[in-house]
């Protein structure tokens, strides 16, 4: 199981700051699809970036066993 960190709107929608999902070996793109199907209450879009181990990941990155994934909705700091 891969650990998924949620923030802002997404953590409110999931009523939790983290989720666990079976996603090892999946590409980021496939992972986003799977997550959206498993949790339809989450607002996941083109604009939702994925971070792997605190760094933005490309769509074709393949998720590894120990990765920590974070969903990054459009940011609004500053």
């Amino acid at each position: 199981m891969i650990k998924i960190l949620l923030f802002a709107e997404l953590s409110e929608q999931a009523q939790s700051g983290e989720l666990f999902i079976e996603a090892e070996g999946k590409s980021i793109a496939a992972f986003k699809d799977l997550l959206q199907k498993s949790y339809p209450e989450l607002t996941i879009s083109e604009a939702t970036m994925i971070a792997v181990n605190e760094e933005y990941a490309e769509d074709n990155y393949l998720i590894q066993k120990e990765d920590v994934i974070a969903l990054i909705p459009p940011v609004s700091g500053g």
């Binding site: 802002a8 709107e9 604009a47 605190e54 974070a70 609004s76 500053g78």
Partner: protein
């Protein structure tokens, strides 16, 4: 660890503390940009704000912005502190200090920093109004540059 150059904190930010981090005998200019909580936005009254961050990644991304700045404007020192948690009207949300040998660079580098923060740093703002609340996203309404960096002309709109 409050003397980190790139810091996410729940504490009130002291301007002088951030400015002191970039003090440099060969700086002739320090630009300090302070983002504060504004009460009225397009006629709507904000009661308070809440900021949330993915803290370790946010500090890394702030440091990345510092690296990008040093590459574009040599001999520059950069420090950025962003506050999270609940903020009242007029509270300081972010303080960016940039010291450079010459003044024009200090303005340009500082402006670059605030634009990049709004693009790549995982921090989110929730507005609380009298009649509701909302997580704010995509204020820039433009392309994100998660890995590379935009050209200056792309920042000037």
């Amino acid at each position: 660890m409050e003397n980190k150059l790139f810091l996410i904190t729940e504490q009130e930010i002291t301007v002088q503390e951030v400015v002191d981090k970039v003090s440099d005998r060969n700086a002739g200019a320090i630009n300090c940009f302070i983002g504060t909580v504004r009460e009225m936005t397009k006629g709507k009254k904000t009661l308070y704000l809440a900021y949330e961050a993915y803290v370790p990644m946010a500090e890394k991304k702030l440091a990345q912005i510092g690296d990008e700045i040093k590459e574009r404007w040599p001999h520059t020192q950069v420090a950025i502190t962003h506050r999270i948690g609940e903020l009242a009207i007029s509270d300081l949300a972010v303080v960016i200090a940039v010291s450079t040998p010459h003044r024009n660079d200090s303005y340009e580098a500082s402006r670059y920093a605030i634009e990049r923060i709004k693009e790549i740093v995982p921090i989110w703002k929730k507005e609380h109004w009298e009649d509701g609340q909302k997580w704010i996203g995509d204020q820039l309404e433009k392309t994100a540059y998660p890995k590379g960096a935009p050209k200056m002309e792309e920042l000037n709109d």
